[in-house]
Amino acid sequence: MALLAAADRAEFGFVRDHIEVSDSVLSKQMSALEEAGYVKVHKGYVGRRPRTWLSLTRQGRQTFGRHLAALREIAS
């Protein structure tokens, strides 16, 4: 969520590599977040290569923002 919150869009592979999880683990997480309305999945092609891009929805950003605010409150 933190990675996607900073990005307008991030490729599936970019997120996978940076949070160091397998394709299937990330895929499950993204499906759950998509179902919850926090993440939007965009599928497309670059040349012949299929690419999946991920982005946070407005609701996802708001929820993550609240989550960060709560963390800051605890940390202070």
Partner: protein, 159 residues
């Protein structure tokens, strides 16, 4: 990730200790930095356009007044190289932030407006004229690409 899926994500947070919350915030900052670093690819795109303009400006500046076949070929080669470089960099873009995209398009728009102004002034003041030395063209090009340089530097320094 999983905790955020649930609507009670925020109410989960108070269970954390201050130290855990600070660590989570630190990690969030680190993840944001990873995306901002990837915005550098957009900076490279701007620098490719800058390089091709400067290259063409240099070739024309060094060419005789009535042009030469070699100059034309050199400019075409540079354009092709720039297109290839842009495609390669484009394929390397795996994430971008809103700020990165705003800087990228702002630099492109600023470059088009500024370059058009520099070109107009060069023509109207007869800085570019058949009786003027070829290097005047190079000078105008060097001034015209300033927005690309600024955009490329800003995107290249994103942390």
């Amino acid at each position: 990730l999983a905790s955020v899926v649930h609507d009670d994500a925020v109410s989960d947070a108070p269970q954390l200790t201050a130290e855990e919350a600070r660590a989570a915030l630190e990690e969030a900052g680190m993840r944001a930095a990873q995306v901002h670093r990837n915005d550098r690819q957009l900076g490279w795109m701007l620098l490719v356009v800058l390089a091709v303009f400067l290259g063409a400006g240099a070739v024309i500046s060094l060419s005789p007044h009535h042009g030469s076949t070699y100059a034309g070929v050199a400019v075409v080669v540079m354009l092709v190289a720039a297109i290839v470089a842009a495609v390669v960099i484009g394929l390397r873009i795996r994430a971008y932030s809103k700020g990165g995209i705003i800087w990228y398009f702002s630099a492109i728009i600023a470059f088009n407006l500024w370059n058009a102004a520099v070109t107009s002034v060069s023509i109207l003041t007869r800085f570019w004229a058949s009786d003027q030395p070829s290097y005047h063209f190079g000078i105008s090009v060097a001034v015209g690409v300033i927005p690309l340089l600024i955009g490329g530097m800003v995107l290249g320094r994103r942390r």
